[in-house]
Every structure is written in structure tokens, then in C-alpha cells.
């Protein structure tokens, strides 16, 4: 049971801050989706976790141990990171043999894995002739080579056909159910909605939301008032995300329902509606990753709190 812990990680490339004081934990026994817009810092965070990139500050560990200090990395963590990390002139089987050689994994496992990812028919062909989906399957086979309890996967569903996505989802859920730690980045929000138990959302290198997906989806409030502009200013000042819904209502995230009511009352703003509101992951994602929400200096992070299940600022 190995949790992944990212603690105050900051990573700069030149003057650009790619990951900015990022902290979160990925729990074992759950599938955790890692979301963010392009360039949000997801891949860099994964590279820091895997010691492929060094953090300028903070630390990233697996069960308290840095990746480079793991005694048997291939049997601890399976990774899909680069979609094309193959020599095009080498066969899929030889790619796996090389990894097995380096990790001391018996070559006998390669055939079973190729069978599992349905690549046996193409195993001796050059990877350069593989489709994106086939390369993705080969990458997944490589990640599973050491039967590791932790999987760190960057966009593993890219290029997979619907059957492949279904197969991957079932595989990841089964491994999580058996106590594995599954950390998956994806831009396919609908797929994450089906797959993930938890989500970690970052934007511009900063954490903007984390928690159980089902609870986060409930963590919004719909408000109607005769003074929307004033209420918006008031709640944004308190750290909430506020946008106007399709019927003119205000959709508020980052503050609990009671808190919103209390603040409106204190400011003398009449409310005509104050109801919890569920949202799709896409809707939530757009809220969380809007520029206003992640502006420098903003310290707003949505996190699920019980019992009210509202997104509140940290």
C-alpha cells in the first residue's frame, strides 16, 4: 500500500514556474485522475515524482521513498509517460525484452503480457509500423511488466479504441480494488468521470481542486438574487468561484451553502434561491481552471469537506 505524496513541489524551467508549491496525496486503493489544461504542469509533476526531473524545492515520494531510492523500481511502479518512447526499428517484443533484462524480470512474462494487451500478433513487427493505439498498448504492457502495485500513467487512453478504453478502465479499477495506487492523467474528462474515484486538478502549476470526484461534483451552489453583481464581488472576495448559469442563476463553488447564505445576509443581499447543485466534470473543470481562478496570488483550492460536501477554500 504505497501512497504517492507531492509536498510543496516547485519546478522552474528558466524563469518560468511550471509547478508552483504543489502538494497533494494519491491514496492507495483508489483511482486518482490528474487533470489540468495543456501546459498545466501534469507531466512535469509526474517527472518529478519519477525522478526524471529534479524539483527546485519540495519533495515527491512513493510510500515515503524517493523513486531513485526504490530498491526494485520496475516491481514497484509501472509507468506510461511518453507515448512514443520506442525505437521505431525495434520489435515490440524486443522492447519488452530490454526492459525485462534491465529489471531482472523473467522473459517468460513477456508473452503473457503481449497476450493480455492483445499485441501477440504484432509482437515481432517493428514498432514504427504500429498505430498509436498499438504503441499505447505496448506502453501499458511495459508498465505492467513487473506487476507493480503503483501505476503512474500519463494519458494512457490516447489512441485506444472504445474496446481498449473499456479494457483499460476495467484493468485499472481491478488493480485499485486490490489495493493498488493508480494515478492517471487524462484530458478525456468523460473517461475520467467513468474511471476516477478521486481527482487532483492543477492549473498553471497550482493545485485548484482535490478530493473525491462524486463529492466534488455535488460541491456547488445555485443562487438567485436581485443583486448578482454585488453578491458575485462579495463571494469572489471570500475566495469562491462564481459564474452565471444557463438560466441567469449564479453558480458558486468554493464556499458552503450556509456560508454563502450567512455572507449574503450580513451584506443585506436578498436571496431568492440557495440550493446545492451537482455539476458535470467538464463544467467543474472549466470552473476550476478558468484564468480568474488560478491567477497568481490566488490561494483558492477546492476541497471536499464533510458533512456539507461543499467546495471550500483552503
Amino acid at each position: 500500500m504505497l501512497p504517492l505524496e507531492i509536498e510543496h513541489v516547485t519546478k522552474r524551467y528558466g524563469h518560468e514556474v511550471v509547478v508552483d508549491d504543489l502538494s497533494f496525496t494519491v491514496a492507495p486503493g483508489r483511482v486518482t485522475g490528474f487533470l489540468g489544461p495543456n501546459g498545466a504542469g501534469k507531466s512535469t509533476t509526474m517527472k518529478v515524482l519519477l525522478d526524471l526531473a529534479s524539483a527546485d524545492s519540495g519533495r515527491a515520494t512513493l510510500g515515503g521513498t524517493r523513486y531513485r531510492d526504490l530498491t526494485d523500481p520496475a516491481r514497484t511502479v509501472g509507468v506510461v509517460l511518453e507515448p512514443n518512447a520506442f525505437h521505431p526499428g525495434r520489435s515490440g517484443r524486443n522492447h519488452l525484452r530490454i526492459l525485462a533484462d534491465g529489471s531482472g524480470i523473467p522473459a517468460a512474462r513477456i508473452g503473457a503480457l503481449l497476450e493480455m494487451v492483445e499485441l501477440s500478433h504484432a509482437a515481432d513487427r517493428h514498432v514504427g509500423g504500429y498505430s498509436l493505439g498499438m504503441r499505447q498498448r505496448l506502453g501499458i504492457a511495459a508498465a505492467l511488466l513487473g506487476d507493480p502495485p503503483v501505476l503512474v500513467l500519463d494519458e494512457p487512453g490516447n489512441g485506444l479504441d472504445p474496446q481498449g478504453i473499456r479494457w483499460l478502465r476495467d484493468l485499472l479499477r481491478a488493480r485499485a480494488a486490490s489495493g493498488g495506487t493508480i494515478f492517471v492523467s487524462s484530458h478525456l474528462l468523460a473517461e475520467v468521470e467513468h474511471l476516477a474515484d478521486e481527482v487532483v486538478v492543477i492549473s498553471q502549476g497550482r493545485l485548484v481542486a482535490t478530493g473525491a470526484l462524486a463529492a466534488l461534483q455535488q460541491a456547488g451552489t445555485s443562487v438567485r438574487t436581485t443583486q448578482p453583481a454585488r453578491l458575485t464581488e462579495l463571494l469572489q472576495h471570500a475566495g469562491a468561484t462564481v459564474r452565471t448559469g444557463p438560466d441567469g442563476e449564479l453558480v458558486i463553488r468554493g464556499l458552503g451553502t450556509a456560508d454563502i447564505g450567512d455572507r449574503a445576509c450580513a451584506a443585506g443581499i436578498a436571496l431568492h434561491e440557495l440550493t446545492p447543485r451537482a455539476g458535470s466534470l467538464e463544467e467543474l473543470f472549466l470552473d476550476w481552471t478558468s484564468k480568474d481562478h488560478t491567477r497568481p496570488g490566488s490561494d483558492k483550492t477546492a476541497e471536499v469537506v464533510e458533512p456539507e460536501r461543499q467546495a471550500v477554500p483552503q
Partner: protein
Amino acid sequence: MTWLRLVRAEIRKLTTTRLPLGFLAVLTLIAGVDAAVVVFGTDMDGSKTFISTAADQQSLMAFAFNAMLGTGLFGAIAVAREYGHHTVVPTFLTSPRRMRAGLAQLAAVLLGGALLGLVGQALIIAGVALALPSTEYGFLVAAGGVAQILAASTLAGAVGAVLGAGLGAVIRNLGGAVTAVVLALFMIPPLVVQLSSDAASWIPPALAAVVSGVSTDLSTWAALTALLAWAVVPAAAGLLLVERRDVV
């Protein structure tokens, strides 16, 4: 044990693409050209005095510098393509202690370079030996001389491969690494000699000639040490940077 596993993986990397076959094809071509020179080549006066003595024949067959240049390209391609194809990512995930992974890669490339140097020299000896009966001269080089040029080319092949691998790790770009090898071994040394004639004995062609037994400008030990330095310096720079730099 762990390190030997990594070396094994690196050797498999080298042997599961067409890279060594390409270099073998080039070596065979060079051997054929050498044989053709023996059959058809003449001196200015139309004679074949360039193969008339054992020393001449040994000089003609000595392949060490060409082995060093060729395996320099082999080493540079073997390492730089890892970055180009991103296969360095699974390499460092398998072995997050990068120094260990880098040393394993150098060991595999060294073995590959040594083998290419040896095979190249053997092919040239065979080609010349097969071509000589078409002339008035027999094969005059003694067994000791043959052994010396075989050993020299094997060593030079290993040195060149490690040098190329070091430059490949420093530069990480295939075109850049290949260019750097050509510059380091072929273009820059003559320019340095122009600036300082004292350097003439320490450039790769001169050192290769000494270890091949066709020059006595330096002692063999001095030449061997200098040749090793040509490999160790770029290899150390490569290892240092591999350890420090992010994989992006």
C-alpha cells in the same frame, strides 16, 4: 548483478536494431576498397612498391584510426538516438541511479565498438590477403604484426565508441552528436596541429599509428594512455551531465 543486468539490456538495445548491421556493411565495403587498391593501385611510377615490404603492407592494413572514427559515430548514434526516441525514459525508470545506467551504456557501447574495430580490421586483413596473390608480392606481415594491428583496431574501436557515446550524452541530438564526433576526430586535430606542431603526436591518427606499430613518434604506453584520455574525458562529461540534467 544489477549492473550486469543493465549491461545486458544495453547490449540487447544495440543488437535489436539495424545499427550494427549498417556498420558491418560499411566495414565490408572498406575492406573491399582496400583489396581493390591492392589489385589495381600503383605508385606514381606504375610499380606496386607500396605493398613491397611487410612495413608497407602493415601500414596499408592498419585500420585503427578509421576504426576510431567509425565507432565514434556508432557510439554517438547509439546514445543520442536514445534521447531522440525518448527510450532514455524507460532506461532511467528501470535504473533511476543514472550513473549506473550511463556506465552500463558505456560498457555496452565499448564492447560493440571493440567488436566492430576487430571485425573491420579482420575483414581488411582478409581482403588484402586475398588480393595480394594477384600481384607479385605475397603476404609479408608476420603474425606479430597482424596481432598488433588487430589489437590496435580493437582498442581504437572501443575508445572511439566511448568517445562518441560521451559526446552523444553531452549533446543528446543525433545530428549534433555525429557532427561533434567528426569535428573532434577529423576536423579539429589538424587545425590544432597548425597552431601548435607539438600537438601532432597526440592527435588520434598519430596515436593510432603508434599503437598499430606503423609509427614510433611516441612510446606505445604514452600513445595508449593518450588514446584512453580521448575516451575518458567526453565519457566523464557525459556521465556528469546525465546525472544532473532533467529528462525532458
